[in-house]
């Protein structure tokens, strides 16, 4: 993002977490409220990034392990003669998906609660900031009109 920009910039999805990182603009005269909002957003972004990067990595890893163990049980190698990666069909993978979901169920419940709380808080702060800015703008206009 260019140095002269006055807004936030959002980037392409992260390779691990699939979330898009945001670079926040810090205005020189940032009020305490605005700073709280920005910090809440940064914190949420970091927390989400941590969770999803770790989660997706675990998924990929466990999927590989599952495929490896199943192929071994069938007596096949990870790569067949042509060098292609051997895969299991959807029905065999279904066991893995079911397992993975139930294993991570509690983790997801915790994350959901966390995410909803953060989301509401950030949106509420955004509302407050917008209100304060609107009032300030109105006050400035009134002052200009009076002058």
């Amino acid at each position: 993002p260019p140095a002269h920009s006055h807004s936030d910039w959002i980037g392409p999805p992260d390779k691990h977490s699939n979330l898009r990182p945001i670079i926040f603009y810090v205005p020189p005269e940032e009020s305490a409220l605005e700073r709280r909002l920005r910090e809440a957003r940064q914190e949420a972004q970091a927390s989400n990034q941590r969770f999803w990067a770790q989660h997706n990595r675990a998924f990929r890893q466990e999927k590989e392990e599952f495929i490896y163990s199943r192929l071994k049980a069938k007596g096949l190698e990870m790569r067949d003669e042509s060098g292609q990666k051997a895969t299991l069909n959807a029905e065999e993978m279904a066991d893995f998906y079911k397992d993975f979901l139930s294993k991570n169920f509690k983790k997801h419940l915790q994350y959901n609660r966390d995410w909803y709380k953060r989301n509401f808080r950030i949106t509420f702060l955004m509302g407050q900031v917008a209100l304060v800015r609107a009032l300030r703008w109105l006050r400035r206009r009134k002052k200009n009109v009076e002058q």
Binding site: W9, I10, A46, W52, A53, Q61, E64, Y97, F100, T123
Partner: protein, 454 residues
Amino acid sequence: MSAARRCRPPRALAGLFVWRLRNTGVRQIPYRFVHLYRIANDRLITFQYFNFLKRMYVTQYNKDLSQRAKPKSESIVSPFHELQQLDQEKKVVHKISPVSPIHQSWSETSSRNELREMKSAAETEDSVVPVGAKSKEDRQWKEMKLRLDDLPGILARLSKIKLTALVVSTASAGFAMAPVPFELTCFLLASLGTGLASCAANSINQFFEVPFDSNMNRTKNRPLVRGQISPLLAVCFAASCGVPGIALLTLGVNPLTGALGAFNIFLYTCCYTPLKRMSIANTWVGAVVGAIPPIMGWTAATGSLDAGALLLGGILYSWQFPHFNALSWGLREDYSRGGYCMMSVTHPGLCRRVALRHCLALIGLSTAAPVLNITTWTFPVISLPINLYISYLGFRFYRDADRSSSRKLFFCSLWHLPMLLLVMFTCKKSVLEKEDKGDLPGRSRERAMEIRLP
């Protein structure tokens, strides 16, 4: 405008879709359909709608092709060796960091994997390439500023406008089936109110699900995920649609419809959306959400909740199951990774049983329609072939439990509902027509058309 002409194009086009799928082998196409959760029954919309679907396939396919062109390379090495590689990559970090001081503000993992991409590029080519890849990534950074000319498109995607259109058409089906003389103003107010309520519900749903949507293939291009709109604006938009929508329904139509609309919004946003991640019961709640719009249409016309409304709701309710269960069969990986509790992942046997059960229930409900004096007895007779066909596909899905049977069932459900509602409409027992029970379909249809025009 004979119904026969309407019957043929949807079936032919459905065949075209399957052909297209087989040829292109694109897995992403079914994902689009979850947007199209409820199907238009309106005659005018049905044909254009299928054409529109066809166009959407092409654009979706092209979009996905262009997405694949991005340098989002899968790690060549198996993740087992991931940890060993990290040390080597840390050395690369120091070499490349002078280029981009901004990246220091990122979290460690994102800088690490960006450099992993660069490392794999540097392995094969010389160091000129990483700089090239950098500028390409730089171009993918977008300013988070709202542009007014983008706003209509953004809001349309936020409110899932196509899904909303389908919800409105099922509501208008409910309105049309009510045994009262047709009132245009009431019809328009009810449709508008339902549409606004649906927009509000969909916006709140997207507001709640940002990190999950970004992790699933079919939803990763939503406005909130891409940062095109702020969450605050999404909530304000939802409020500015929902409040007038419900007010319009309560004051302009009748309080019962308004109450149903408000209840449906609540059910969708506060029950279905959180439940998706907690228990498989979400599918049943979602089916109720889909069943309520036709009930709303009926109550808008008649002002009361009678057996006909419940029957229509029941038909929509039963239809949701083969539709959704067949669709979710192909999305199991995304659901599992995203943490969504769906029957197809956790209870696959139940998933298929329920789909079959409800296909058969549709036959039963169609037979109940003339008993409740909503349609003539020609309705269960005419609808029997299509109901039997979807039940047959449901049975195949139950028995085979594979991708092709789930796809067949899903595509069948797409044309089955419009056809069923259409046939129901043409077999509607008009208030003045109660004596003509034994009429031939053609004649009763013509007469029904005459009477129904305002």
